[in-house]
Symmetry: C2
Subunit: 304 residues, 2 copies
């Protein structure tokens, strides 16, 4: 079983009220790939510039990620993003977004990767997402994510890409923006009625809501003690969700619910470090221990 992760690899500058990093490994695809690598084999499809540090590439290789799709664009510079978080760590200002090599890059699935069993399309031009999904021969589960810029500039494409995937992931704001409905419960249902097969709405530290035609699931957030940097938590969640599903015996409602708890669990580790740094040293034993703890924290015994 192999999971394709397509999206952006970037170098981030992040400032929180407590610390700051520069030229730090980042990007949606990076976070998702590192999270998924806890569970399954991962193939990463993304563009970088000639300036991408060899040491960062080595970190990804060190987690067993297949980098045959990590494409260095001659003369190009890696995408860069800068942001500053406010005191509550829930809101931030984007300082800059330098597209770099992602400006106009059209990802193409490397030869031999058509057989990926699952795929995560991190936020990107929806036409590129659709092209990659169509190139897969028989995936058992696919997920599309997006961000506001694409909803603003390519809304129909975003909606089409979401309908083509098995799961569409988004945050609360994006769910409201896509539907014009304030209630998350109703927005989720509206997305499904409009053709999205399943919507996974991320509530940040408060957990997630999952809505499909057959199921409805609400998961609380894992109680976070130390939030160093929430950047990439949503992509981490998505990567772990699909990574777990890739290895599950079946893609069933039961396994999807477990995958959501795994997603929250791995995301709860990710926020303990800048960007995906905590994931670089995370072990499967730590994940399983916190997953069990999470289950205990939320468990209610059946009535006598």
């Amino acid at each position: 079983m192999t999971l394709l992760v397509a999206g952006w690899v970037a170098l981030d500058e992040i400032e929180t009220p407590f610390a700051k990093v520069e030229q730090s490994l980042g990007g949606s695809a990076t976070c998702a790939a590192l999270a998924a690598a806890q569970f399954t084999d991962v193939r990463l499809l993304a563009a970088i510039g000639e300036d991408f540090p060899e040491g960062e590439r080595a970190k990804l290789e060190g987690r067993g990620i297949d980098l045959a799709g990590l494409t260095t664009i001659a003369g190009g510079t890696t995408s860069r993003w800068g942001a500053r978080y406010h005191y509550d760590m829930n809101t931030r200002d984007t300082l800059y977004t330098h597209l770099g090599v992602n400006d106009g890059w059209q990802p193409v699935l490397p030869e031999g990767w058509e057989d990926c069993s699952t795929a995560f399309m991190a936020a990107d031009d929806p036409a590129a997402q659709q092209g990659l999904l169509a190139a897969l021969t028989a995936p058992r589960a696919t997920m599309v994510d997006t961000i506001q810029i694409y909803i603003d500039t390519a809304r129909e494409g975003v909606e089409a890409a979401m309908r083509e995937a098995d799961f569409a992931s988004m945050n609360e704001t994006e769910a409201r923006q896509l539907t014009g409905i304030a209630s998350i419960a109703k927005a989720g249902r509206a997305l499904v009625e409009a053709g999205t097969r399943a919507a996974l709405i991320k509530l940040g530290e408060y957990g997630a809501v999952y809505v499909s035609e057959d199921d409805y699931f609400v998961a609380p957030g894992y109680p976070l003690e130390e939030v160093v940097d929430p950047t990439g938590a949503g992509d981490t969640f998505a990567g772990a969700f699909l990574g777990y599903l890739d290895t599950a015996a079946e893609v069933s409602a039961r396994e999807i619910r477990r995958a959501i708890i795994y997603g929250s669990t791995v995301a709860s580790f990710a926020v303990e470090g800048f960007g995906p740094n905590r994931l670089l040293e995370l072990t499967r034993e730590e994940v399983e221990a916190r997953y069990r703890e999470f289950r205990t924290l939320t468990h209610i015994e059946e009535s006598d």
Copy 2:
């Protein structure tokens, strides 16, 4: 088994982006009492003015609430509160607070009420809360709530009252204010370390976190479809929580977890109407049906 609810009964003016009411039944004790009355016998201790409409008193009587402690202050006017909600229904501006009869009123436990088996002290002067708690002979469970004004003006009293009760309920902002700690998980632990026996931190639509020396529980919010007015949802949660516990076979971790789900369930009904109005027609069958649905929405099967 009998639950004492002490606090404020008020007449509210509430404006949301979608509707407006004036002179509407409100107040923290009103909401808690009506929620608790779903489960157990309730005694209401509060002050009203001569202007309190007979029809509103009849509504409370109609739900079987013992109003022997609903004290009419001669020449006084009922407390009044006005607020306007913003578009997201999560934030509001308080337009005015007229204390009326609650300005300086010292509640005294009516004779014969010392035997209440549970007690909820809705937000009030902490000295009054402590006095009432001390007057109970052998309660099985007590809870103290507060609001920002008392944390600002009588912080030590609030902390003392919270330590004397079995449970202290508060919202996220109040938990942060009481501890100076941003992380809800850490703030809850800090409260328990400082002597609060158990902290119940309400996360609004996102559920609740429960922290005691022996247990830690996180509950998601029930997916709300129609929010007409969130006023009083926290007190409704508290009233239903204690109302259920009053009838439970034991006050155990298992029953406390169930009580939290009952609290969220009844609160999810309350927001469907202005103030506590929806609770006036709510049936136990509706509560049980939604409780079961809530359990289904959050259930994860054990591993094979």
